[in-house]
Amino acid sequence: MKVVVLIKMTTVIRGNPNRAENLEAILDPGNVALDVNSYDLAALEEAQRLKESIDYVHITAVTVGPESAVKALQIAHGMGADELIWVDAQYEGGREMELAGLLAEVVSKQGFDLVLCGLKSDDVGTGLVGIGVAEILGIPAVTRSVKIEILPDGGPLQIHRHVGKGNREVVHCPLPAVITVERSRRMPRYPGVARYLAARKKIIRYAVEQQPGTQVSLRHVETKKAQPRPKKIFTPDDNLSAADRMKMIMTGGMARKKKKKAQSVVSGSEQLYNFLVKNGFLKNKA
């Protein structure tokens, strides 16, 4: 089975932008660090586990980016990838679908049964490229997978997807397919040093004639420090007196909750039981 894993390097900001005087200096390409996308590492780990579970799995790691992107391939090789492809091209934000088109071209040239990639990236995190590749190739896609199993007799893949609150959905998906991987308890393995160092000789470079590309219908207005999340605006309770309302507004609605005072007559466990029953967390047995 040929598995292609799409990986990328993400930008990691050094320091805290909220405390920085000059945001541009922090975002300057010379000052930022690069790291492999954590979701893509999870995808590589899934690929490795597939390799361990059945006999023949060939893993190809593909990355798109400038020279610095090669490190992602070294790590992929360290984790066990067999073939490394570096597409020497650069796509800025807003052109994810062009990138998806390029990746689709590369993987179909390479030949594949399964494409794995991270759910989204750590830096920009649009979460579009995986589904974009599936759409362009016209193959099914499953998102947020936390567990991939191969059913015997060449059947479909059985995938557990994360659907929030720790719940999972089990789906069957025929090959070929694109699967985007969610970070899970399965920690990505550490890359082996020998393979990491040997990777540079194995990298196959594709140079791409960068097309001018379609015009992105977006204009960048500004980049600024992120404000603390705008929480829902607090409005005080109408029933309170004017003074109480003022107090609540001044404290931002953080006024202490009205407590049910512990009554000395009723024991602690009795109070706990009654409270849980009253609020519907426990069924009353009596």
Partner: protein
Amino acid sequence: MEQNKLWVVAENVDEGLREASFEVLTEVARLASRRGDQIMVLFCSAPDADVNKIGVELASYGADALLPLEVVPNSSRCVGGAIADLAKECRPDAIFIAETIWGHDVAAWVAAKLRTTLLSNCVELGLGPDQELTVTRHVYSDTVAVKYASLGEQTMVITIQPGLFNVKKAFPGKTINLLERHAAQAQNPDPVQVLGFIKADPRTVDIVDAERLVVGGKGMGTAENYKLIHEVAEILGAAVGGTRVARDNGWVTLDRQIGQTGKTVAPELLISCGVSGAIQHTMGLKETKCLVAINTDKHAPIHKLADLSIVDDAPRVLKEFIAKIKTG
């Protein structure tokens, strides 16, 4: 449909529409009233759904038209495809969806089919100097905000983070234009088959996702007493958490520690036993809906946050509570 420039895709849950969809609608209605735009709400309705009732409710939030969609099969890919087909025809300015698991998938399929970009997880909507739509999204782990403005040539696909905007019935008595049910049969049926659903097991679920938590601190005293926490958790179907002290003593593992050096949780119910409530711990449980505190110290800061304060020895209260449940 052509005059409706802003589309909102609402998400169904069992009892109706998701709260996050109303947040999106309220916020979009605020923009639309300034720009004089019409809003159309799209939602995937079951054939027997009471569309009129939903329509009246949506109108009071500011919707101008309602288009019930009937997509077979009802997967995010096919729904996204149906919406993208409609969008190619009617060319709305923007399509808004709440960033939930379903919402993100549908938005990504719509964007992929329209060959446009996806502005996911937006935190702010606004209007520029020429009344053009602007959106702000956070990048680099929510530390930097980037603002974009629409050039108005392509349809923008935007998902909005839930929990940021107020839900407000700003247009009481408004009427809605109920459009005819749009049925779409996917040409290529989605080959992905959903087989089942596995409910999270409270014993193994990540505490970040847990709906109920029982948390123990230094006041539990010994590892022996900490077993009471596990017993109570079993009774309530809750997950077990701990403070830094509990973790240092080896009562819980690191992945169950709550607070500054652990995780931030948002359960419906949290029972805090023998926890004083130091800020390093309580900053991890700010989102808790209902907090019960059991601590011998009546001046402990945890009591100030609690919905129910019990000033008593936590192991004894738990022991009695377990005995009470067991005897019925």
